[in-house]
């Protein structure tokens, strides 16, 4: 069965990162042989002075294919992991959604978008989770991480939000290679310009220092751009990707 796992607020200002926690959770699931996990994505939520985020208010989500009999064990162990390994003073939350059991994905998606636009309360998150029958739990501190954990899953389900965690290693920065080679030597599904043009297999791209990918149309996209008056496609910088 396909599941979505969302976590948030596992870090403090002095230590930890929710992306690192998510990667450890992925290892835990795979080491237990409960199933295999796919792309971890980071989703930006609202930046507002009244929200108690550490520094960037983002949440993380990954998907996994697991045997249904392991679902309860996974939820239990993931909760214990967050309680044990999250940074002191953090407010971790966990959301687990079994795709085939979810009725009302559109409500979860709408909730995800809401968390980008307004302050959402913990009560709202729990109310929606109960209504949809999805797992949502807190594992320390104020437990406010449940808001983002649920939002991370909703935003991942849009298939059009967030950046993939980590960076690609294909060739050295400055190398120019074809789209076909990029796709065959990395998890990239598509190479697309920031304006929405999908590059052909034989088109060439100059690789930059840090290769990050984004989730668009349900695919892992490497975004590229052309400098003004330039003819060459180049991979986007971090600054280009700040709104993804």
């Amino acid at each position: 069965m396909k599941i979505y796992v969302g976590i948030d607020d596992t870090d403090s200002i002095e230590q930890g990162a929710t992306g690192q926690s998510a990667n450890q959770l992925i290892k835990l699931i795979e080491n237990q042989r409960w199933g295999s996990c796919q792309g971890l994505t980071r989703h930006q939520l609202l930046l507002h002075p009244d929200i108690a985020y550490t520094s960037h208010n983002s949440s993380m989500c990954f998907t996994a294919d697991i045997e249904a009999i392991y679902l309860n064990s996974l939820i239990e162990e993931a909760g214990k992991f967050l309680e044990r390994d999250s940074a002191p003073g953090s407010d971790p939350g966990l959301c687990v959604v079994a795709a085939e059991q979810l009725q009302g994905a559109e409500e979860l998606i709408a909730y995800g978008y809401e968390t980008k636009k307004r302050i959402v309360t913990k009560e709202e998150a729990y109310t929606l989770a109960r209504k949809l029958g999805v797992h949502l739990s807190e594992h320390g501190g104020t437990g406010l991480g449940v808001i983002g954990a649920l939002a991370g899953v909703g935003l991942r389900m849009t298939n059009n939000d967030g950046r993939f965690q980590g960076r690609l290693k294909i060739k050295k920065p400055g190398a120019t290679i074809s789209v076909a080679e990029i796709k065959s030597s990395s998890p990239v599904d598509r190479v697309q310009s920031v304006d929405g043009y999908v590059l052909q297999e034989n088109e060439e791209v100059r690789l930059g220092e840090k290769l990050k990918t984004v989730l668009l149309d349900g695919m892992r996209n490497l975004l590229v751009y052309r400098r003004e008056s330039g003819r060459e496609w180049e991979t986007c910088t971090n600054a280009h990707l700040e709104n993804y």
Partner: protein, 68 residues
């Protein structure tokens, strides 16, 4: 020159907004508190930049330095 303004909560907010790359880099170069954030949260190309520091708290239009 002062690159900070006190917000309504008395916190030091960067005057340069979210894209003053040279200034954010220059400030971080001389900052004793600078600590590189997680790789997924880096936005500036120059590694040592306030924009890449784990002690910056993003706001809608800029960031607050949590060490000032």
């Amino acid at each position: 020159m002062d690159f900070w303004i006190k917000n309504e909560r008395g916190q030091a907010q960067f005057k340069g907004g979210r894209h003053d790359w040279p200034q954010a880099s220059a400030i971080a170069a001389g900052c004793l508190h600078f600590s590189l954030d997680d790789e997924d949260e880096l936005v500036a190309e120059e590694e040592r930049s306030c924009y890449n520091c784990r002690y910056r708290r993003w706001t809608e239009h800029s960031f607050i330095c949590m060490k000032r």
